[in-house]
């Protein structure tokens, strides 16, 4: 009797496990590669945010003064930001992120920006098609 109970019990447990397994099955349908996925849109929205962030940074008056001191036209720089790839924007905005920690970092960010432009002129990269 005891073993019978045990058996019915385990049958029930297996049935429950199978049913919950079927219900909890995460994605029933895998989307074909040609569909625009939500994660893809997340990446794009992050790049848009970073672009806005870097543009905000460039519109700060202290930054504009520094750029002008280096002979970089602010309007040009803002146009060029539009040409940066996601990875480059991430580099720039992560530098801006740590900016409050030290004033020297402003130099670093501008330095990176100028390096991007120089590499472009040298033909290593093609970030700023206008150059």
């Amino acid at each position: 009797m005891k073993s019978l109970l045990f058996k019915t019990g385990s049958v029930w447990m297996m049935a429950v496990a199978m049913i919950t397994g079927a219900v909890l099955q995460p994605s029933a349908y895998a989307a074909p590669a040609g569909m625009v996925s939500t994660q893809q849109l997340v990446q794009e929205s992050r790049v848009d945010q970073q672009r806005a962030y870097v543009n905000d940074f460039l519109s700060r008056s202290d930054v504009q003064a520094q750029l002008e001191a280096r002979g970089v036209d602010v309007a040009d720089a803002q146009l060029r930001i539009a040409g940066l790839t996601g990875a480059e924007l991430a580099t720039l905005s992560s530098q801006i992120d740590v900016l409050p920690a030290g004033e020297g970092v402003l130099e670093t960010v501008l330095f990176i920006l100028v390096i991007f432009m120089l590499l472009d002129i040298a033909g290593v990269t093609d970030i700023f098609p206008g150059l």
């Binding site: 994605s27 029933a28 989307a31 040609g34 625009v36 939500t38 997340v42 992050r46 848009d48």
Partner: protein, 334 residues
């Protein structure tokens, strides 16, 4: 704060220590601190000048549970506080292995967010506006905040939960550390909060939205959420987003993709059709609708939408390959 620090350093620099501090140095030190006090709580100042209507009466969410923290474990305690209020029964002890790092005597923000998702809640990081944060509390949501109780240079990180405020008295009420009702001046809170980058999080039950939700931020948080919590909770979250932003490209695509993943093709198509009525030039929606139409066996619609996507953006490889795939499926089917 920075100004005060530099004055302090100058005052205590070696050249000056052998002399008694001059009267001028003292005056400038005091002035610097006064100045810092004036400018370092700007949001409290502006709230003080004009209290926004939604914040005019005091709020105290007295039924928010209290879990006094053990040792340095403010992270698990604060997280348990907000989760329990969202009807998730979990104790700080259960959260310790998920969010507490003994060697650092603390919890990482990113792990606090991940643990929130693990318990079926969407971790929404607020904008950093003091007014918006308090309005969440006014709307009945306790807010998990990070504070730096020390100085920027010598930080002492702390997690607490905002459960109330009284702006006429310029006070804020927290569940903090070992104190159930920790009432502190709003200006002081703002300083400690600003030093932690104004980090504030609400745990949203799927279907809920913050009072002041940002479309892109909400989209990203739900997209994070659905990676581990797909199905009905994700669908409910997308629908709530679409209700707030009815012609949102992001919400429509998120909802449609999740419906597709669950095999609900008719509704996945309907969501995109609805969006295209208002926003006919959105190529990605046409592209996805082409695939869904194929699933539904509607090859006419599939071809139409695949062609529209390519017309709108001929440079997109994705859209071109969609059109090719649709064409070859139709020709092989006939």
């Amino acid at each position: 704060m920075l100004r005060a620090g530099s004055v302090l350093q100058r005052v205590l620099s070696p050249e000056l220590t052998d002399h008694a501090l001059s009267f001028r140095a003292w005056i400038s030190l005091v002035m610097a601190f006064t100045l810092a006090a004036c400018v370092s709580s700007p949001q409290t100042e502006s709230l003080h000048h004009a209290i926004p209507a939604p914040l005019s009466s005091p709020v105290n969410l007295s039924d928010v549970a209290f879990f006094p923290q053990a040792d340095y474990q403010c992270g698990p305690a604060a997280l348990a506080t907000v989760l329990n209020y969202s009807a998730v029964a979990v104790t700080p002890d259960e959260l310790v292995p998920q969010v507490y790092i003994p060697a650092r005597r603390g919890s990482l923000q990113i792990e606090m967010l991940a643990a929130t998702r693990r318990y079926g809640q969407i971790a929404y990081v607020l904008s950093g506006s003091l007014s918006e944060m308090l309005q969440e509390v006014g709307n009945g949501k306790p807010v998990l905040v990070m504070q730096n109780l020390g100085l920027s240079r010598w930080p002492q990180w702390h997690y607490a939960v905002v459960v109330g405020y009284d702006l006429t008295r310029s006070e804020i009420r927290l569940r903090s550390g070992t104190i159930r009702d920790y009432v502190m001046p709003l200006a002081l809170f703002e300083k400690t909060w600003a030093r932690a980058d104004h980090w504030a999080v609400v745990a949203l039950t799927p279907g809920e939205l913050p009072v002041h939700a940002d479309e892109i931020a909400y989209f990203q948080r739900v997209a994070d959420f659905e990676q581990s919590q797909s199905g009905e909770p994700a669908i409910r979250s997308w629908r709530a987003g679409l209700q707030r932003w009815p012609v949102s490209r992001l919400m429509s695509m998120g909802l449609s993709n999740q419906l597709y993943a669950q095999g609900n093709m008719p509704e996945a198509a309907q969501v995109l059709q609805q969006l295209l009525l208002a926003d006919a030039g959105f190529a990605s929606a046409h592209n996805n609708l082409a695939w869904i139409s194929l699933e539904l066996g509607d090859s006419v619609a599939a071809l139409h939408h695949a062609q529209r996507a390519v017309e709108l953006d001929a440079d997109d490889d994705n859209f071109r390959s969609t059109l090719q795939a649709v064409q070859s499926k139709i020709s092989s089917g006939k």
